[in-house]
Symmetry: C2
Subunit: 127 residues, 2 copies
Amino acid sequence: MTKYEKEVFAIVNTSCEHLTVEQIFQRLKERHPKVVLATVYNNLNKLLEEELIRKVSIEGMPDRYDRMEKHDHLVCRHCGKLADVTFKDLTASLREQMGDGFLYYDLKVYYLCPECRKKLDEQDKKE
Amino acid sequence: MTKYEKEVFAIVNTSCEHLTVEQIFQRLKERHPKVVLATVYNNLNKLLEEELIRKVSIEGMPDRYDRMEKHDHLVCRHCGKLADVTFKDLTASLREQMGDGFLYYDLKVYYLCPECRKKLDEQDKKE
DNA sequence: CAATTAATTTAGAATGATTATAATAAAATT
DNA sequence: AATTTTATTATAATCATTCTAAATTAATTG
């Protein structure tokens, strides 16, 4: 692991914020002002191949990078905010249903976050 | 719904092939040789907003468009192939676990498809 | 240690998918 | 039929990402 690969990994792995490429780049620049965006892409791609991090794509949002530790995602359908959550594990059930070949799964739950629900409720009252 | 919106919808909704923008464009062109790519994008976006179709993003693959009818996806981690499948419904369980605000969920199961499993098995034997 | 080789990073160009803009055409409304 | 609105076209612009070649750094070998 090279210097930058280590640092990019640390940035992604220790944050629960689902950072974008640009945000990761900014953080890396705080310490290494001369670093270049391509280096961030190179190392993110390397880390993805090594399966040390994962990418989270949400419709209409830029891709985000996330630690590997098992967890699911809540996505607010209104403001797009992404939150971590851990639902009951599905591995056993899925394996049973699908036979061989299972590797892992990705579960996203779309919802309205409390803030958006409040906002939308208030709007409804006015109408 | 305009002429093209109807046709784009029909193409996406009646196929189980998870077509890309380019493929949808090609099919539309068979009937309307003069149609332009931007029209496909415009109408796909309109259909997405109207929640008449959905987009499926798989890491490293171009985005695909899919009918709304409830189903889950199997993604081969090796060749990227996408297949439809319907696992046991999770709605009740998720609602119970997360309280209010639930809208819907998206479940992708990553696996090795039979073809890739065979290939990889054969490779292993050689080594 | 010096020299060679390999791998990483940089800088900037190239690509490709998507969106934006302005003009034209079609549809809907008055 | 005239006016207004909406959709479509053609093309330019944008943005994220990848590619390429040169430069730098790290690793390996004699």
